[in-house]
C-alpha cells in the first residue's frame, strides 16, 4: 500500500535562505514521525508546504500514492491533511462544539444543528481520548484544553494526517503527557502524525521515527529505540551538547528587587497575586516554579509595569517602582523577556535591527534630538545577530520572517545586550533548540556573574531547577516556599507546586 504521505525532493527558498534543500519524507498511516532540527533548520517550512501554505519551488508531494498540488490549506484539508496552529484560532464566546463545527457545519432545515454538532464532537473526543466537554465556552478553558479543541477541529474535517508544529511549547508538563498519549491514540486509529518539538524527551516518548534536518538539509533518520537524548542532540547540532547547566555557586550581594505583599488582579478581574512577597539579590538567579496559571504572568507584568498593582509595593534598587510605567521600569535597569514573544516582544513587520532597539530607541546612542541614528542601530544589530547566532540573511530582514526559535533569540539578545540590573525572563528558552538553550543558559548565568539579579519564570521545572540558585514556589498567587537550589529536589518542589506542603 502506498504511504499516507510522500514528499519527494522538495526544495524551498526565501530571499537569501535555502530553507528546504531537496527534502524527502515519508509518513505511513498509524505512524508518529518526529521532525527534529535546530532553529531555522526548515521544519516549519516543510510542514507548511505539506499544509498548502507555501508552494514548493521544486519537488513533488504524494498523498496515498497520488501526486497532489496543495495550493491552499483548503486543498490540503480536502485531502485529509490537518495542521494545528499554535496561536489558536478559536472564537472565545463560542462553545467547543460550535468552534469545532464552524466552517464545516452540518445543517438541519438549513440551520446549524447544535445538537448534532455536540454529539459528533462528543463521539470524536471519545474515539481519540480527547476529553473535553462540547458545551463549554472556549474562554473558560485552559490552554491545553483549547489545544484539544484545535485538534478536534482538524479531526472533525476527517484528517488522516495531523501536523503539530511545537504543540507542547505552551503546555504544562501534565498537559504535555496527555497530548503525547493522545498522539499515540491517533496512531492506533491509523492517523499519521508529524510532530515537531525541541524537547528530546518527548521525541523519545512518542515517535516511531525521527527525521533530523539541519540548515535545510536532511541529515539523518533514526528510531527512539536506537538512540538517546545525547545522541539526538548530537545529530541535530553536529556536536555534543551539554544538557546540564554548569555554573559556580552564586555570590548574592545587595537586594535589587523587593516585592512587598502585592495584590494584583488577573485578566478576569479575580485576584491573581495575593499579597505576594519576594526578594532577588544582585548576583543570584531566583527561579519561580509553579503550575502555569498560578500568578506567574501577573507577577512578571506587575514588576515590569504592564499590570496595575492594587496594593503592596515593588522596589527596584530601593526605589519605589510600584506605579511605574514600562518605560520607567526599563530606565531603572530592568530587562524583560516576555512570555509571548510574537505578541509583546517583537514587531513582525519591523527589521531585525529595529526590533533590537524596540525599547531602547530613545537612548542617546540611537536618537539625537529625536532623530533616529541608523548607523549605530545597524552596528548594534550586526553585533548582536553575530553574538547570539540569530539565523538570518541580513539585519534588514523582517523579524516576522525568522524561524520561531530565532525570534526568541532576538528578544533574548536585545534584553541581555544592555547590561540590565534586573533581568525578568519569562520562558526564555521556549521554542529554542537544545544547542541554543545551552547558549542562552550560559548567557543568563554570565549576566548573573556580572552582577545582575535574575528572576526566571519557566514552565520547565528542569530549567528552573537547573538554572536557579534559589527556587521560589508559587501557588495560588503566593510564594508558598523558598528553597535553596541544593535543597530543591524534583519531588519536593512538585508537591509544593500542587499546593501540598513539604512534610
Amino acid at each position: 500500500m502506498a504511504p499516507l504521505l510522500e514528499v519527494k525532493n522538495v526544495s524551498k527558498s526565501f530571499p537569501g535562505v535555502l530553507a528546504n534543500d531537496n527534502i524527502s519524507l515519508t509518513v505511513n498511516a498509524g505512524e508518529v514521525v518526529a521532525l527534529l532540527g535546530e532553529n531555522g533548520a526548515g521544519k516549519s517550512t516543510l510542514v507548511k508546504m505539506i499544509y498548502g501554505l507555501y508552494p514548493p519551488d521544486s519537488g513533488e508531494i504524494f498523498i496515498n500514492g497520488n501526486k497532489v498540488e496543495l495550493t491552499s490549506p483548503k486543498a490540503a484539508i480536502d485531502l485529509g491533511v490537518g495542521m494545528v496552529h499554535q496561536h489558536f484560532q478559536l472564537v472565545p464566546v463560542f462553545s467547543v462544539a460550535q468552534n469545532v463545527a464552524l466552517g464545516a457545519e452540518k445543517k438541519r432545515y438549513g440551520l446549524y444543528d447544535s445538537q448534532q454538532a455536540e454529539e459528533d464532537v462528543a463521539a470524536l473526543s471519545q474515539k481519540y481520548g480527547l476529553a473535553v466537554d462540547p458545551a463549554v465556552k472556549i474562554e473558560d478553558l485552559p490552554v491545553g484544553t483549547q489545544q484539544r479543541v484545535e485538534i478536534l477541529k482538524v479531526l472533525y474535517r476527517d484528517a488522516k494526517l495531523l501536523i503539530l508544529d511545537e504543540p507542547t511549547a505552551v503546555l504544562t508538563p501534565q498537559e504535555t503527557d496527555e497530548l503525547l498519549e493522545v498522539m499515540r491514540g491517533f496512531a492506533k486509529q491509523g492517523v499519521g502524525v508529524i510532530f515537531i518539538t525541541h524537547k528530546l524527551r518527548e521525541v523519545l516518548a512518542v515517535a516511531d521515527r525521527v527525521v533530523v534536518l539541519r540548515n535545510g538539509k536532511q541529515v539523518g533518520e533514526t528510531k527512539p529505540s536506537e538512540t538517546d537524548q545525547a545522541g539526538l542532540a548530537k545529530m541535530m547540532v553536529g556536536r555534543s551538547v551539554v544538557l546540564d547547566v554548569k555554573k559556580e555557586l552564586a555570590k548574592p550581594k545587595e537586594e535589587v528587587l523587593r516585592i512587598e505583599k502585592i495584590v494584583v488582579k488577573d485578566d478576569r478581574n479575580l485576584i491573581g497575586l495575593n499579597e505576594l512577597s519576594l526578594s532577588v539579590k544582585a548576583g543570584e538567579i531566583v527561579g519561580i516554579a509553579g503550575v502555569e496559571g498560578n500568578g506567574q504572568r501577573e507577577l512578571v507584568q506587575a514588576i515590569t509595569g504592564l499590570r496595575k498593582i492594587e496594593a503592596g509595593k515593588v522596589y527596584i534598587n530601593n526605589v519605589d517602582a510600584t506605579d511605574s510605567s514600562p518605560y520607567q521600569v526599563h530606565k531603572m535597569g530592568v530587562a524583560h523577556v516576555p512570555e509571548d514573544r510574537e505578541r509583546d516582544g517583537l514587531v513582525a513587520s519591523y527589521s531585525i535591527a529595529d526590533n533590537l532597539v524596540l525599547n531602547r530607541f530613545t537612548e542617546a546612542e540611537f536618537s539625537k534630538r529625536g532623530v533616529r541614528q541608523v548607523e549605530p542601530i545597524k552596528k548594534l544589530a550586526r553585533f548582536l545577530v553575530e553574538k547570539f547566532a540569530v539565523k538570518t540573511p541580513s539585519i534588514e530582514t523582517n523579524a516576522g520572517a525568522l524561524s520561531g526559535g530565532n525570534k526568541q533569540k532576538l528578544v533574548i539578545a536585545r534584553e541581555l545586550a544592555w547590561g540590565p540590573k534586573l533581568l525578568v525572563a519569562a520562558q526564555p528558552t521556549r521554542g529554542v533548540d537544545v544547542g541554543s538553550i545551552e547558549f542562552i543558559h550560559n548567557q543568563i548565568v554570565q549576566a548573573r556573574d556580572n552582577g545582575a539579579a535574575v528572576l526566571l519564570v519557566s514552565a520547565e521545572l528542569d530549567e528552573v531547577l537547573g538554572l536557579a540558585d534559589r527556587v521560589a514556589v508559587i501557588y495560588a498567587g503566593k510564594i508558598v516556599a523558598e528553597l535553596d537550589a541544593a535543597a530543591a529536589d524534583r519531588n519536593k518542589v512538585g508537591r509544593l507546586m500542587a499546593g501540598g506542603d513539604t512534610n
Partner: protein, 365 residues
C-alpha cells in the same frame, strides 16, 4: 496595562493597507477604474478616449489649466497626508473633511480679524490658526479613543456633522458678511493672502515641503517610530514603553492639523473668504488619496495630483460632451473600492501573497 478596546490589534485590513507598499495594486486599481469609467462614458454615447483626453487637456494643457490643477492638488496633498498619518498609527480618520473646514474657517477668521500685521506674519498666523483648529477638532476624537475607547470612525463622522452645523451657524450669524444674501464671511485682508511664485501657488510648494517633512518624521524620527509601532503592534508598543494613549492623541492632533492646514491654504490662497459651499469633499478625497498612497507620505503627492487632475479637468466634460462631471466621483469611488479591498491585491499577488504572509504564527514558525 492594555485592555479592552486598546488591546484589539489593528484591524487586519488597515494593517494590510499600511504594510503592502507595492505600487502595483494602486496602479492597477486606477487602471481598472478608468476602464470601468470608459464603459460608463461609452454608454452615454461618447468616445471614452476623447473624454479622458478632454479631462487631461483641460487640466494640464494650458497654463491656466495647470494652475487650476495645482490649486486643486494643494489641499488634497494635505488632506491625504492627514489620513495617512493616522493610518500609520492604526487609526482611520474619516473626519479629515470636518477638520479641513474648521481649518478653512479659522484661517479666514484670522485673515479678516487681525489688522496691521505685516504680510508674511499675517499669512503665518492664518495658517497657524487653521492648523490649530483642525488639530484640536481631531484631537477630540483622539482623546475619546484613548481615554473612553470610542471608535475613531464613529467619532470623526459625528465631528464632521458637528463641524458643518457649527460653521453654518457661524457664517449665518456672528460672522455673516453684512448686506449679503449668501452665507459667507467677509474677505480676508490682502496681507493674509498666499502669494504665487511665478505661476506656481506658494501653497502648493508648501504642501510639497510638508509632505517631505512628514515623510521624514515618519521614517526617521523617534516620534515616527512610536507612531509606526503603535500601528503595527500595540502590545509590543506597550512593552517597549511607548505611551499608547499619548500617541493616539498626538497623531490625531497632527492628522487634524494637516487637514486644517489644507483648509487654511485653500482659504488664504484661493477663496480668500469662507463659504460653506467651498471645500466640498476635499477631506473625503483625502481618504482615497491616502489609501492609494498606501499611507506613504511621499506617495500622497502623485496620488493627490491624479485626483487634482481629474477634479480640475472634469468640468470641461460638461462643455464638450454634456457629461456630468460627477463621473469623476464615480472613477474615484471605484478606485477607492479597489485599493481598499485587499481582494485586488490578493488576486494579483496570489502566489506572492502566500509566500510572504505568515498565516500561522506558532512557536514553531
Amino acid at each position: 496595562m492594555i485592555q479592552g478596546e486598546e488591546a484589539k490589534k489593528l484591524h487586519p485590513t488597515l494593517s494590510y493597507l499600511v504594510q503592502k507598499q507595492s505600487l502595483v495594486v494602486p496602479l492597477i486599481a486606477v487602471l481598472v477604474a478608468f476602464l470601468i469609467g470608459s464603459v460608463l462614458i461609452a454608454l452615454q454615447g461618447v468616445n471614452p478616449v476623447g473624454a479622458y483626453q478632454t479631462i487631461f487637456n483641460a487640466a494640464l494643457g494650458s497654463e491656466r489649466g495647470l494652475l487650476r490643477t495645482l490649486e486643486k492638488t494643494t489641499p488634497l496633498i494635505l488632506a491625504g497626508l492627514a489620513v495617512a498619518v493616522a493610518l500609520r498609527v492604526g487609526l482611520f480618520n474619516i473626519g479629515a473633511q470636518g477638520q479641513l473646514i474648521m481649518g478653512a474657517f479659522f484661517a479666514t477668521w484670522a485673515g479678516f480679524t487681525f489688522t496691521n500685521l505685516p504680510a508674511l506674519l499675517h499669512v503665518f498666523v492664518g495658517l497657524l490658526a487653521g492648523v490649530i483648529a483642525g488639530g484640536l477638532w481631531a484631537a477630540i476624537a483622539g482623546v475619546l479613543k484613548a481615554y473612553r475607547g470610542v471608535h475613531e470612525v464613529i467619532s470623526t463622522i459625528m465631528l464632521n456633522s458637528i463641524a458643518i452645523a457649527l460653521l453654518d451657524y457661524l457664517v449665518n450669524h456672528p460672522f455673516k458678511e453684512p448686506g449679503q444674501a449668501l452665507p459667507r464671511t467677509v474677505p480676508i485682508f490682502e496681507t493674509a493672502q498666499l502669494p504665487k511664485l511665478g505661476f506656481v501657488p506658494v501653497g502648493f510648494l508648501l504642501a510639497l515641503l510638508v509632505a517631505m517633512f512628514i515623510s521624514w518624521v515618519i521614517n526617521r524620527t523617534t516620534a515616527g517610530f512610536q507612531f509606526n509601532t503603535v500601528g503595527a503592534n500595540k502590545f509590543a508598543a506597550a512593552y517597549a514603553g511607548i505611551k499608547i494613549k499619548y500617541i493616539v492623541v498626538a497623531s490625531m492632533l497632527l492628522s487634524g492639523g494637516l487637514a486644517g492646514l489644507g483648509g487654511a491654504v485653500e482659504s488664504l490662497g484661493i477663496t480668500y473668504r469662507f463659504e460653506p459651499a467651498f471645500n466640498k469633499g476635499l477631506g473625503f478625497d483625502g481618504i482615497t488619496i491616502a489609501l492609494l498612497a498606501r499611507a506613504n507620505p511621499l506617495a500622497t503627492i502623485p496620488a493627490a495630483f491624479l485626483v487634482g487632475v481629474l477634479r480640475s479637468g472634469a468640468p470641461s466634460l460638461q462643455f464638450d460632451y454634456g457629461i456630468e462631471p460627477e463621473i469623476v466621483d464615480l472613477l474615484l469611488a471605484i478606485t477607492l473600492l479597489l485599493v481598499a479591498a485587499p481582494i485586488l491585491g490578493k488576486l494579483i499577488f496570489r502566489k506572492y501573497a502566500k509566500k510572504s504572509e505568515t498565516i500561522s504564527s506558532g512557536w514553531g514558525s
